[in-house]
Every structure is written in C-alpha cells, then in structure tokens.
C-alpha cells in the first residue's frame, strides 16, 4: 500500500527551493532564531525530496504507505516547516509564528501539532537510529515505503550514528536512505579543523553502505542519487553543499550558523534570494 497520487510530486523543484529559502530567511529574521546557514544548505535537498522523490500526501499525513522523512539535524527545522507549508501540510501563514512566544513551530523541529513531521529532533544523533527502526519495521512487514534521514556533517561526530550505521548495514535495510548535508562547517569551525570526517565515503563503504556522492545543489544529480538501492543495502548520499547557499555573504561562513539577518543584512539577503530564478 503506497500513496497513490502524491500531490507534492511534480513540483518545480527550483521554485520550491527558492520558496523554502525565502521562507527560512523571513522566519529566522522575524523570530530572531539562528541556523539560517544550515537551512539554506539543505533547501535544494528538501526541494528534490518533496518535489521528486517522497510519496507523501498532505490530505493523509498519516497514510500507512507514505514515505517517512526525518530531519535528524533538527536545528534546520525552519526549512522543513517551510517545505511542508509549500507542499500543503499547513498554511504558509503559520510560518510567521516560527520561534515566537506561544508557537508550536519550535526552532528545532517538533512533530506535535505539525502534520508531516515524523520525528522531533534537536539533539543530534537521534534521527538515523529511529529511521532504521522504522525501516526495519517496514522490511519485516513487507511494506515498500522508504525512510529518509537527513543528517548534518557535524552530527556525524555523535557515536550513536555509527551504532545505527552498523545496525542498518547488518540488517540490510535497503528501504533506508541517509543523506548527509556535507557543507564542511559545523557549529564552531570547519569540520576538518574540528573532528575530521575524511575519508568520509570510505568510512560509509567500510560500514557496508551503498555510497553515492553528489552536488547537493544539483537537482538532477540528487534525483538520481536518491533512487532506491539495487544491492539490498542501505544507501547514503553524501551531498556536497554550501552552508548559506544562495546568499553571497552567508556562503561558507560559520558566522551564519548563529547570526540572524536583520536590517540591511535582511534586505540584501532578500534581494539576492528573490532575484534567483
């Protein structure tokens, strides 16, 4: 049993990514939250997932045959809320409440009262294990749907991920797709200067995963990379991305993991994002 006619599929993913970026800029600036750089980094990944891959249906958010998506890097929750709103899971007007007093749109993604969010996260290193549990349940009961977990690169410092990576390979969880947003910048500094992940591809391969590497802003490349495994193995897509992608002065800057765009910075960022086709 799968979702027959997912209404999100077929969207123009470039336009979707642009809308996600604009929402995220407004949400983080209005609410005064951090992580705009992290949101811009994954806007294209989310656009391709929801526009071309995931079989989800906003009119039936709990459809048993839906694909499951988990944002393990919960601090980029604004980007997921924006995506869900653009896909019809909630009114886009609700996004204006993000991060503010009385809102259920928390800075780190929460499922309570938010249709389409499968798992609340925010503490890193949780999403992949839960996704593996969901994939195992699907495998055991012969359900064809997929489970997708989106991780950050810094998050891969968490040992719990490597427990899950071992587990998923051992159980050949081929319904499981992990995507790593590899923008090479973590909370305080560059990944290479903090806890080196390289040789990153080789690590996942050594753990028994089918590894695909692509440009995390190239929609065609990602759509191909997100295809199911043909080897009865879990798949990881290491997506090379740019933190802050789309706003010139935010790109590659650790500062924008935390800083909120206000005043002239907000106006300048808005102009750049609106100008994109």
């Amino acid at each position: 049993m799968v979702v027959d006619h997912p209404s999100c599929l077929g969207k123009d993913t470039r336009q979707l990514a642009k809308a996600i970026r604009l929402h995220c800029l407004r949400m983080t600036s209005t609410g005064g939250s951090s992580h705009i750089g992290s949101c811009l980094s994954i806007a294209d990944i989310l656009a391709v997932l929801y526009g071309r891959c995931l079989r989800v249906e906003p009119s039936q958010p709990k459809h048993p045959g839906r694909d499951r998506f988990i944002l393990s890097k919960g601090h980029a929750g604004a980007a997921v809320y924006a995506t869900l709103a653009e896909c019809g899971f909630m009114p886009t007007a609700k996004l204006a409440t993000h991060y503010q007093d009385g809102s259920d749109l928390s800075g780190h993604v929460s499922h309570k009262g938010i249709p389409g969010v499968e798992l609340s996260t925010g503490s890193l290193g949780h999403g992949l294990g839960v996704a593996a549990g969901m994939a195992l349940a699907a495998q055991q009961s012969g359900q064809p749907h997929r489970v997708v977990a989106l991780l950050s690169d810094g998050e891969c410092d968490e040992g719990s991920n490597w427990e899950a990576i071992l587990f998923a390979a051992h159980h050949r969880l081929d319904r499981l797709l992990a995507i790593v947003d590899y923008n090479k910048i973590q909370s305080l500094d560059e990944v290479d200067k903090t806890i080196r992940l390289e040789p990153f591809t080789a690590k996942w391969e050594a753990f028994g995963w089918e590894v695909r590497r692509c440009d995390g802003h190239d929609h065609e490349a990602m759509a191909a990379a997100f295809a199911p495994s043909r080897e009865r193995r879990p798949v990881v897509v290491i997506a090379d991305t740019i933190k802050g992608k789309g706003v010139s002065f935010m790109e590659h800057q650790v500062l924008w993991h935390y800083r909120t765009a206000r005043g002239e910075e907000f106006s300048a960022a808005l102009l750049e994002l609106e100008a994109q086709s």
């Binding site: 499922h111 309570k112 499968e118 798992l119 609340s120 996260t121 925010g122 503490s123 290193g125 949780h126 992949l128 294990g129 839960v130 996704a131 593996a132 549990g133 969901m134 994939a135 195992l136 349940a137 699907a138 055991q140 040992g159 719990s160 427990e163 899950a164 071992l166 587990f167």
Partner: protein, 312 residues
C-alpha cells in the same frame, strides 16, 4: 524476576505479533525459548543501547510494542535521551526493562549498581514506572506494560523476593498493594527489598507492633490516595527502597503528602545516602551494610515510634 518477566512476555508475544523484544546483547540463555517460538519478534541490537532505544522508538512509531532489555544502568542511563526524546515525547510504546535493580549485581561494582534509576526516570514526562516487589508483581507489571499505552519503565530485581500473592489480589497500575495490614506503622516499599520489610514486620509483630506494608509497584503515577490514607491512620510512616534517597520513593511519598496538606505524625526514609559504594558484596551483604535490611528496618521502626512527632 527475569525468568518470570520473559515467561509472561512470551505468553503475550505468542498471542500478539506486534510485540517485539530487543536485547542489548545481554541475557545469556534467557531468551532461547522466546527466540525459538517468536523468531520474528526477537532482536539482538548488540552492545549499543542508544541505538537499541532509537530502533525501538522507530518500530513503536510503526505500531509495534517494543521491549528493550539490558542490565543495571545500560538500558536507562546510557540512553536516557533516547528514552526522553524519541520514546516519551512521541508517546511511543517503548517498554524499557532493566534487570538488576539496586544491588542485584552488588559484587560487580558501581557500574552495575542501579541506585539512581527511579529518581531519574520518574522525572521524565509521559512515562509509567513499574518497580515490582516479588515474582507475582513482576509478571503482572509485565502485562501492565503492554496494557499501558506509551512509554514504560520496568525495574526488575535479579532475586525472586519472598512471595506475597494472596488469593484475590489485584495488580492495578498506579495503585499500591496492601501486602500486610497494620495500624502502628506503615512501610511503603518498592522493589525486591519488599522481602526485608516483610521480615522486619514479622519481628515487630512479636513485639506487639503492627506494620502495614504497601508495595509501591508503580512509582509513576504514585498512589497518592493510599499514601495519604496511611499517613492519617498510622502512627508512623517509613519508606524503604534499594535506591538513593535523592528523588526516590521516599521523596515521592513526601511530595505527595505535603502536596495534599498531610503531615504524617512520624516520618522516616530508608534508602541509600547518595554516595557510591566502592565496597562490593552480595545483595544481602550490601543491604546490611547500608542499613536497609530487615534488622535495620525493624530498628528504624522502633526508634521512629519512640522518637519525636513531626512538628506542624
């Protein structure tokens, strides 16, 4: 209690294929029958408790009732955040089981002394906490974990404890069970150390002191009604736990009493002082050493009865 737990769980699992048992690579030989009879419902997650709990949450969110099993603090403290965030916050039917409450594994050292788990786990929102006192309660608590929605914690002693079941006894989650009637003193006790309270009560009976024993097999929610009634009708109230006094059963009982505006006439908490025990030994030895065995309980009852009343 472990064998009782697994036997009861197997009975349920045979009737309900949604029940899954995951072990963190512990329980040598214990699961052989379960594994043979319910092969699709058993999983060894390896020595990886954080992932075990996350896997359990993921499966529970897909409709399974998932028991996670390990010993001492491994199924609780090692993966506390997975219990809190992935299970409790999502209302996931994850049933965390720890075998080896208190000093069950006393000789193995502080890594295996489960002496803070109740305080820590009972502070989590949206969880039901069971701590049975004998084999009958252990079996009933296992069933209660299945019947109770959402996340549960089941703390099991390694030892069997002295049987307390009497014809007609009911195990009602959230309700303390009166194991023994009495009016002079009420001892509220949780876990396998119930047997020490019983032995103390036997001794005190010969001295003309009648002891009511309430088994707090459910720590959260705590049975406020039974505690308040006991404080009003008994001359003294004591709590007994093989667990730290910081936030454990004694603290929970005191909270409930004062929250209900009830001051017991005399009150005393028996438990561990909140220090690590670098000294090892059998459960019997360590109970004696830390003043929570039957003799110490009897002496505490005597001195509390002879001591001053609580000031108002």
């Amino acid at each position: 209690m472990r064998d009782t737990f697994i036997a009861r769980l197997l009975r349920h699992a045979l009737a309900d294929p949604s029940i899954v048992l995951i072990t963190g690579d512990l329980g040598f030989k214990v699961f052989d029958e379960f594994r043979a009879k319910c092969p699709g419902q058993f999983l060894n997650a390896g020595v990886a408790e954080q992932n075990m709990t996350a896997i359990a949450a993921g499966m529970a969110l897909e409709g399974r009732i998932v028991f996670t099993y390990s010993i001492a603090n491994f199924s609780t403290l090692r993966c506390l955040e997975q219990i809190r965030n992935d299970a409790c916050y999502h209302g996931a039917a994850v049933k965390v089981v720890s075998i080896g409450g208190g000093f069950s594994y006393g000789s193995l050292g502080i890594s295996h002394h489960a002496t803070e788990d109740l305080a820590i786990i009972r502070s989590l929102p949206d969880i039901t906490v069971f701590s049975p006192g004998d084999l009958w309660e252990a079996a009933e608590a296992t069933s209660a974990c299945i019947a109770t929605s959402g996340t549960c914690y089941l703390r099991l002693d390694k030892a069997a404890g002295k049987p307390t079941y009497r014809e007609g006894d009911l195990f009602v989650p959230g309700r303390m069970r009166t194991v023994r009637g009495g009016t002079d003193v009420c001892v509220v006790v949780t876990g396998g150390i119930l047997e020490e309270a019983q032995a103390a009560a036997d001794t005190l009976a010969t001295e003309g002191i009648s002891v009511r024993i309430l088994s707090a097999h459910t720590i959260r929610p705590l049975d406020a009604e039974a505690v308040v009634e006991a404080a009003r009708s008994c001359t003294a109230m004591l709590t007994l736990e093989e667990h730290t006094l910081h936030g454990g059963l004694g603290g929970a009982v005191a909270e409930v009493l004062l929250d209900n505006g009830v001051m017991p006439r005399r009150f005393r908490r028996l438990g561990l002082a909140g220090t690590f025990s670098s000294i090892v030994g059998s459960q019997v030895y360590l109970r004696q050493r830390y003043g929570i065995d039957a003799r110490a309980v009897a002496e505490a009852v005597r001195s509390t009865l002879a001591g001053p009343t609580c000031a108002v």
